[in-house]
Amino acid sequence: MNETNGSPEPPKAAHLVEAVLLTSARPVGVGALSSASGLPEAAVRSSLTDLARRYSPGKSGIVLRNVAGGYLLSTNPACSAAVERFRDEARPAPLSGAAYEVLSCAIYYGPLTRSAISGVRGVNSDAVVRNLIDRGLLAEVGADHESPGSPALLDVTEELLIAAGASSREDFPSLETLVSEEELARVRKRLRIVGDGSPAELPETP
């Protein structure tokens, strides 16, 4: 309250953005923040920069995250033990190696069918896919009408981007950078492509 004339001071732009973010459990995009606060997008972005500075891990128990195409206020991971004790909840069971591989398939090759995932991994992945759908990390986003039976197409969800701390699919390292030339050369050498052509020692499979 302004003490000189008794009328309330208009809130600052950053305060409006901060208030909207506080009430949302999902990432909020710049457009939605602009619409809710009545501020131009440039002002929203400027406010977000201020808030990111204020809510940085070294300064606060709350951090501002840029995830899944929006902004989300979350607790600082350094305080997670206290939060989990207070909420009396345990973290969900960690995912298995097979589950991360299926998610990796969906990130880099999605949307794709269950059989395509199994094709990349070399083993049936239906049970893993079912588990990931139950956890909300994968979702059916359509159907492959060109394949017999029009199997469902699977893709990653907003939940996955939030869990991985990624703003979008582009935030993940590109496939080409994941495997070094030396490693590829080793694979080819093991397969004896240059030699008699008979496969020999194979890399470890799941």
Binding site: T23, L72, S74, R87, A99, S104, V120
Partner: protein, 239 residues
């Protein structure tokens, strides 16, 4: 102490990345395809068992036997699942794959696997974040609305009720006009009792014949004579 239920491993529990709980439930989940056998590190199961094993217990032999039997079954199941399906090998039409194609497949898999490792690291880095508001409580005086209930109500509102099955009715084989014609023919030789008219007809034809008689009587083509209520009904030609 011997387990009265006859299940020696009923108190044996395991702690794996993908599952935590009784060993017997783990077996059940695997058999029901709720958990993939690839995800279960069998060597860890053996380690857990050896740690939990008490050589002094009365039922040690029974427990060892049960565990060895189930663990051997898991090894067999895992190895069979990893092996190509027998049908593929027997039909002799297994798709030929060149070393180059194999190298390409392995490269692709290797990339996905490295991507999975990077993803695991990302998940680990971000595991401690909790969103600012998990569930907003309803504001005082406001009705709390469950989105699932709204969805269900919308589904009911916009869906058409299912058509009742009519297959058992069969095709319609009789018409009012047809039965009216039968009645006309019968009346040529004089009055006809209704019972006699429908003697050889099924229930559907009898009903339609009655409707036809009513209709003809209404139009004045015949007279319906019934001396007493619920008594015999006679159809007579109109004067």
């Amino acid at each position: 102490m011997l387990d009265p239920s006859g299940r020696a491993l009923s108190d044996f529990t395991v702690e794996l990345d993908v599952y935590s709980g009784p060993y017997e439930w783990l077996l059940a989940l695997i058999l029901k395809d709720e958990l993939e056998i690839f995800e279960v590190p069998l060597h860890e199961l053996v380690s857990f068992y050896l740690q939990a094993r008490n050589p002094e217990a009365l039922n040690t032999l029974e427990r060892d036997t049960d565990f060895a039997g189930s663990a051997a079954a898991l090894v067999l199941l895992k190895s069979r699942t990893l092996s190509p399906a027998p049908a593929d090998a027997e039909d002799g039409e297994e798709e030929e794959i060149s070393p180059e194609q194999l190298a390409e497949k392995l490269t692709r898999y290797l990339m996905v696997r490295h991507g999975a490792e990077a993803l695991r690291a990302s998940f680990a880095r971000n595991a401690g974040h909790h969103p600012s508001a998990h569930l907003l409580p309803p504001r005082p005086g406001r009705l709390q609305i469950d989105p699932d209930r709204i969805l269900e109500a919308a589904r009911r509102s916009f869906s058409r009720p299912a058509e009742p099955p009519v297959k058992h009715l069969g095709p319609i084989t009789v018409t009012l006009q047809e039965l009216a014609s039968v009645i006309h023919t019968a009346l040529v030789s004089g009055p006809v009792p209704y019972e006699e008219l429908v003697r050889d007809m099924d229930r559907l034809r009898s009903a339609v014949a009655f409707a036809a008689a009513l209709s003809l009587a209404h139009e004045g083509h015949l007279r319906l004579v019934q001396p007493e209520p619920l008594g015999p009904l006679t159809l007579e030609p109109a004067q």
